[in-house]
């Protein structure tokens, strides 16, 4: 067994321990239904922020339309589970595949754009997806899709989240991931090294979209009704905040960012106006004191107490 696999095993054990504790508390009635839902949302948001981080943080392509892919996964899956009585896993896979296909088709032309232009194009894309859904009567239009079976459970989201993190972690540590990071660092130099920059940008975008689609499927099955207003530009922006707050190019950061933002907004749910002020203040303070985010470009294992989790680096900072 090589070191990489040993690491994965450590993370798996750590994940199982956390799962055991939280699940135990839930089953024991120690966590109420409000927090139970919010813990599920945290896991979904971790999938969203980690997959967005692959696009924005690791590959350096500024995408502002992530909620659009989530919407695609959401609607494709609810059609399958509600109208065709398929199991959740089929909805998740089909939702992820549909979002990935769309991501690939749209990535091919738009990823030739740089920086600000790409941000605007993806922002527009997210809005177009939402407005198209709003105008399809088959899925309930603006009023929303009703009668969705309540299939999402804590074990489902938790293990999907683990698979997502595991997949993205291994992707960014592979040669493909190196290529993506090289593109972020310097696209022209990456091209000069023989890296097919278009291919990798589209690949990162497609994988990110796929996981957003899966997250959308899980999200939809938490509720009886779902409507397009859950996938506005503000939602995409919210995921971006999680990524930036946690740290671009850090998976630990994505987990922390999704956790902090979701838990904070849940805790402040009774004071919605207050919530936006805290958000804004937190971001301003962060940009002043830690512009790279809580974990910019580093993982938890870079810190001493957690180094035992990672044997590949041999204690290197």
């Amino acid at each position: 067994m090589n070191i990489q696999r040993k690491n994965d095993l450590m993370y798996l054990v750590l994940g199982l321990v956390i799962f055991g504790i939280v699940y135990g508390l839930m089953e024991g009635g120690m966590i109420g239904s409000f927090w139970k839902l919010n813990i599920i949302i945290i896991c979904i948001n971790i999938i969203m922020s980690a997959s967005l981080n692959l696009i924005n943080g690791y590959t350096g392509q500024f995408s502002l339309g992530h909620a659009g892919f989530m919407a695609v996964g959401c609607y494709v899956s609810v059609i399958l589970t509600t109208n065709f009585h398929m199991p959740l896993i089929v909805g998740m896979l089909a939702g992820g595949a549909a979002a990935a296909l769309l991501g690939c088709l749209i990535g091919l032309p738009t990823l030739r754009l740089n920086g600000d232009y790409l941000a605007i194009a993806t922002l527009g894309l997210g809005e177009i997806i939402r407005i198209v859904i709003m105008n399809i009567n088959y899925v309930g239009g603006a009023a929303g899709f009703t009668g969705i079976p309540h299939l999402t459970t804590f074990p489902w989201v938790f293990f999907t989240m683990l698979v997502t993190l595991f997949f993205i972690k291994n992707f960014v540590n592979s040669t493909h991931g190196r290529a993506c990071i090289a593109i972020r660092e310097n696209e022209i130099a990456a091209g000069a090294m023989g890296i097919n920059t278009t291919k990798y940008k589209v690949m990162a975008f497609t994988i990110g979209a796929a996981f957003a689609g899966i997250a959308g499927a899980l999200f939809a099955h938490c509720f009886y009704i779902i409507n397009p207003s859950s996938f506005t530009f503000m939602a995409s922006f919210n995921y971006l905040i999680m990524v930036v707050l946690g740290g671009l190019g850090s998976l630990t950061g994505s987990v922390a960012g999704a956790f902090v933002v979701t838990a904070l907004s849940a805790a402040l749910a009774s004071w919605p106006e207050f919530r936006m002020i805290i958000y804004a203040l937190a971001l301003i303070l962060l940009m002043f004191y830690r512009p790279q985010g809580l974990f910019g470009y580093v993982e938890l294992t870079a810190f001493k107490p957690f180094r035992f989790l990672d044997r590949t680096k041999g204690g290197r900072e």
Binding site: T175, R178, A189, A190, G191, A192, M193, G194, Y297
Partner: protein
């Protein structure tokens, strides 16, 4: 014998700007050929066209008998041409070692790659001492060495160098040029773009002089260095 690199009458545009106006040049295997000229003459544009970052509107570029103009950059690297771009363009937030690893991106022969790391570290001992240093914190000269080492990691048959002396102290320029000669002796053909015409002509076999998108003079490097026109225009008298 056919030339290794054969550029035939290419025209390159930036939008409406006609930057290269019908240039032809050849590089034979084993040579050092230099392309000199003033700022804005089109030297970098020529190199970028060879390496596939730009596509000529007219004309053709052949490498080892195959047409490469119009191919994407990554295919041209695979064909055996590696460029050290102007301004170095290293991966600043990565370590020296990670930069070199990316240089070998197209290769899969693990043992050969290991050997070539050693070759690069022997050629550039300063890099060997700084394997784990962030590339962005290297000095200008060290960054130039890293950019060259990284280009060598793809084992190019033809190395394109765009102003390797830019911004370096005279002593370091001498060191870099010695290394270029060594690389060439070890079997890599070199096409060198330079402002520093004196140095470039002293190590090159042949030279081309570029003026506003056209080649105005070409020939043996020693003869050009001695010619009155070149002395006046580029060698300071």
């Amino acid at each position: 014998m056919a030339a290794m690199l054969d550029i035939k009458d290419i025209n390159v545009y930036y939008g409406a700007i006609h930057a290269i106006k019908g240039i032809s040049l050849t590089v034979n295997e084993g040579e050092i050929v230099t392309l000199i000229g003033a700022n804005g003459a089109g030297k970098s544009t020529t190199l970028r066209t060879v390496s596939g970052l730009l596509t000529p509107k007219e004309g053709e570029i052949k490498f080892l008998g195959e047409t490469i103009s119009g191919l994407p950059a990554q295919d041209i690297v695979r064909a055996g041409i590696s460029q050290v771009p102007e301004g170095r363009r290293i991966f600043a937030n990565m370590t020296v070692m990670e930069n070199l690893e990316l240089g070998a991106y197209i290769r899969t022969d693990k043992e050969g790659i290991e050997k070539d790391y050693q070759m690069v570290f022997e050629r550039f001992p300063r890099l060997a001492e700084r394997k784990e240093q962030q590339a962005g914190t290297l000095s200008g000269g060290e960054q130039q060495m890293l950019a060259m080492g990284r280009a060598l990691m793809s084992r190019p048959k033809l190395l394109l160098l765009d102003e390797p002396s830019m911004g370096l102290a005279p002593l370091l320029i001498r060191e870099i040029f010695n290394i270029i000669v060594d690389i060439n002796k070890a079997g890599t053909t070199v096409l060198l773009v330079e402002q520093n015409a004196n140095m470039a002509l002293s190590i090159a076999n042949r030279a081309y002089v570029l003026e506003t998108g056209r080649i105005t003079l070409s020939g043996d490097a020693k003869e050009l260095a001695a010619s009155e026109d070149v002395r006046k225009a580029y060698l300071g008298g």
